[in-house]
């Protein structure tokens, strides 16, 4: 069953393409049509690390957090296994279930919800994470017999100054990050996983992101956020080699065996007060970010990737202000705290005052939040002038397990066995 037939791909082509790809994958990356549009290609689902972290950031996001509503460990495991199967299928450009969108029993609801018919894999990645409440719920109950496997670093984030968190859109027992180059493909994936989960999990909150704000590969340019700036230039990237072991992936000696090769995920929904920002002078905007708005270069430098010179002064005044965002967030100011950010811009309509409900859905992966997000956010929340224009409205932390190795493996196997 395939969502999209490879037009013009003859029998010989199928055979040739089939040789290099797993049988479940209908949309070979080497096919003619896919070659014309690299954004349509499938990203390998199986691997040592989960896809969707180092994968060059796709254009669209649908992020969902779930609450587990069963107390039955076996039921939860069965769901994780069913999810893994469906996720592997969808990331390969296939339907969520074998009956497809319209090929099953006429008197049964279709296996797949159908809105991705005709769409290729579109670079879909599905990345799962486990929240602290999966291990011990709000009442301290160890529902699934895994409390003793809670990693030390998977703790609720500390409160930060100016937090305006809405508990209704924060936290979660499980999360799935769906990224794709086609928004419909990302939404389709979350919707089908949620459907498979009825009775076992309940979707607690979800967030759409319409445009990436980060680059996770040197092959990508840094996109602009809704404030019009390039931010997160000093991101960890796929090409960073040893830095990834040091800052991104949880190591074998980090205290949780099941998480080796995984990563900690922090999400923050950051609302931007774009209306007041837009009536701020260019001079002030650049001073707040510490970057030039057109090029993205650190103030005093000429190129985006030039190292910022925090010592430079002009007429006795620092070129990059003491409370500039670039300075406060920089690794050198935070004990070499590094993260891999892959956030997305969102607009959730307008509020009742006619203001755009817009901002950045911040996503960061790291080996240890204490050496990543926490020190940086502490510094930002207490000093950043940008706080006048932003507000953190949701927060969550998850431990994302290592990758699914093959068809016999499943999301969370190492945690539950």
């Amino acid at each position: 069953m395939k969502r999209r037939n490879a037009i013009g791909l003859g029998t010989a082509g199928i055979a040739a393409a089939g040789a290099g790809f797993a049988a479940g994958r209908f949309w070979p990356a080497t096919s003619e049509a896919a070659a014309l549009d690299p954004n349509a290609e499938a990203i390998a689902f199986y691997g040592a690390h989960q896809a969707g972290i180092l994968t060059p950031a796709q254009d669209r996001l649908h992020f969902a957090a779930f609450e587990v509503i069963t107390a039955d460990r076996d039921e939860l495991i069965a769901l994780l296994q069913a999810w893994t199967v469906a996720a592997a299928r969808m990331c390969g450009g296939d339907y969520a279930g074998p009956g497809g969108a319209a090929g099953g029993d006429y008197y049964a609801p279709p296996d797949d919800t159908g809105e991705a018919q005709g769409l290729p894999a579109s670079g879909l990645t599905l990345t799962i994470g486990f929240g602290p409440t999966l291990f011990t719920d709000a009442d301290g109950v160890d529902r699934f017999g895994i409390a003793d496997r809670l990693p030390e670093a998977l703790r609720e984030l500390p409160p930060f100054a100016l937090d305006a968190l809405d508990p209704a859109v924060s936290g979660g027992d499980l999360c799935v990050q769906a990224c794709a180059n086609d928004p419909q493909v990302a939404v389709h994936a979350i919707r089908n996983l949620a459907r498979i989960g009825f009775g076992t999990v309940s979707q607690r909150w979800s967030q759409l992101g319409f445009g990436r704000t980060s680059s996770t590969s040197t092959a990508q340019s840094t996109p602009r956020n809704l404030m019009g700036f390039k931010d997160g230039t000093a991101n960890l990237k796929a090409e960073d080699g040893d830095l990834l072991e040091k800052h991104l992936w949880v190591g074998a000696d980090d205290g949780a065996d099941w998480l080796t090769g995984g990563s900690y995920l922090v999400t923050r929904r950051i609302r931007m007060r774009v209306e007041t920002w837009d009536r701020t002078t260019l001079a002030e905007q650049e001073e707040i970010f510490g970057r030039d708005k057109s090029e993205g270069a650190p103030l005093g430098a000429t190129g985006e990737f030039d190292e910022p010179d925090f010592e430079a002064e002009a007429d006795g005044v620092p070129v990059i202000a003491a409370k500039a965002h670039i300075r406060l967030a920089h690794p050198t100011m935070n004990g070499d705290a590094r993260m891999l950010r892959r956030g997305y811009s969102f607009v959730d309509g307008s509020d009742n005052l006619g203001r755009l409900d817009a901002g950045l859905f911040f996503i960061a992966y790291q080996r240890d939040p204490e050496a990543g997000f926490i020190p940086v956010q502490r510094s930002l929340s207490e000093n950043d002038v940008l706080n006048e224009y932003i507000e953190h409205t949701s927060s969550a932390i998850f431990a994302c397990p290592p990758g699914v190795r093959d068809e016999d493996d499943w999301w969370g196997r190492a945690l539950f066995t």
Partner: protein, 374 residues
């Protein structure tokens, strides 16, 4: 048709009234006495021979009672509703050899006071077609029993409205609707009548004051919002007439197994879309009565098909049993006295929990149609 026509049943009940003693007994003609009170349900015997079995139920309690015979999975083999205090009613039911349960439901709510009832003798084995026909017949019995309750309770409700008895009418409103909501998918077959009985104000351009707005919800509006029943009499009369008409149509309608399956799902969709949101009974907030009735109606339709489902997909039956139990457990937390908490008293978290349970159940029930259509 195995069902006894209401007039005949009433006549039989009257004839038996004299014969019924204080203690339940098996009478000379083989009728099994049932003595129902507010906290007991004494059935004279717990066994019978396969074939036609007759129960005579006397209500010596203070609450309106109901009597049911259930096969496995709460499949209603037969029931009598609306046995008011002091009244004796008869239930005649065809029972093949099997294990059953009897139940009285004082106050017409809950699982009832149950007892085992065993029928021995020749086991009826049904062909596939017969099994499906049996499912339809079983559901038609259910619809007819609910129809009788609907007519009676709607008349009582209308009487209270006509009499200007606001408090009395308010108390009867969710009770009459219970019978309606249990069989609503059948009513919806009759396109014109359903809106006249059950439309909501949003169905009309002028909202609640639109002259075309009639039925239960118009009276709900008069009772809870304006408190003015001076113009409500004709609406009540029309409601009674419409309900009688729809009941007659329903009795004459031939149903298919697929309609049963889709009806079971449609009732859960009703809950998910209108009851959990509080849209259905927006003036009275008695949505949980309707919720329970939809759930009972869905369970009733599924129970009718149980022998077919047992044969064709036992795993699905197990999943249905589990999810129906979960949904009831979620709802039961909100029982209050003989009824339910008001919708606007529930927290968002409580509503979320109900929604989760209905979603889980709905996914399973949505699989039934393909199984009966095999």
């Amino acid at each position: 048709m195995r069902h006894l026509a209401p007039a005949a049943a009433a006549a039989a009940a009257l004839a038996l009234l004299a014969a019924c003693s204080e203690k339940p007994a098996e009478s000379d003609d083989g009728a099994i006495g049932v003595l129902a009170t507010d906290d007991a349900c004494e059935v004279a015997v717990s066994e019978a021979e396969a074939g036609t079995v007759t129960f005579t139920i006397k209500n010596e309690g203070t609450k309106v009672n109901e009597f049911y015979v259930y096969a496995e999975g709460n499949r209603v083999m037969g029931e009598v509703e609306n046995i008011t205090p002091g009244l004796t009613r008869e239930l005649i039911v065809e029972l093949p050899a099997d294990a059953y349960e009897t139940a009285c439901k004082p106050g017409m709510i809950g699982d009832g006071i149950r007892a085992d009832f065993t029928v021995t003798g020749e086991a009826a084995s049904l062909s596939e077609d017969q099994a499906l026909q049996d499912a339809v017949d079983s559901y038609k019995r259910y619809v007819e029993s609910q129809s009788a309750g609907l007519v009676e309770q709607t008349e009582l409700f209308a009487e209270a409205v006509r009499a200007g008895d606001i408090e009395g009418a308010k108390a009867l409103f969710p009770v009459a609707r219970t019978y309606w909501e249990r069989i609503e998918p059948v009513a919806e077959i009759f396109g014109d009548l359903d809106p006249r009985i059950d439309a909501r104000e949003d169905d009309y351009p002028e909202g609640p004051t639109d002259p075309a707005f009639t039925g239960f919800h118009k009276l709900e509006y008069d009772l809870w919002i304006t408190g003015d029943l001076s113009e409500s009499g004709p609406i009540a009369d029309q409601l009674v007439a419409d309900v009688n008409e729809i009941v007659a149509l329903a009795a004459a309608e031939e149903l298919s197994p697929l309609q049963l399956a889709n009806g079971a799902k449609a009732l859960l969709d009703e809950i998910a879309s209108f009851k959990i949101t509080g849209e259905e009974d927006r003036y009275s907030h008695t949505d949980l009565w309707d919720f329970a009735a939809n759930l009972e109606g869905s369970e009733g339709a599924i129970a009718s098909m149980r022998p077919v489902l047992d044969e064709r997909d036992p795993d699905l039956v197990a999943a249905l049993d589990e999810e129906f139990a979960n949904a009831w457990a979620a709802l039961e937390q909100h029982r209050e006295g003989d009824g339910w908490r008001l919708h606007d008293e529930l927290t968002p978290e409580e509503l979320q929990e109900l929604s989760d349970a209905i979603n889980a159940l709905g996914e399973q029930v949505s699989k039934v149609a393909a199984v009966v259509a095999e």
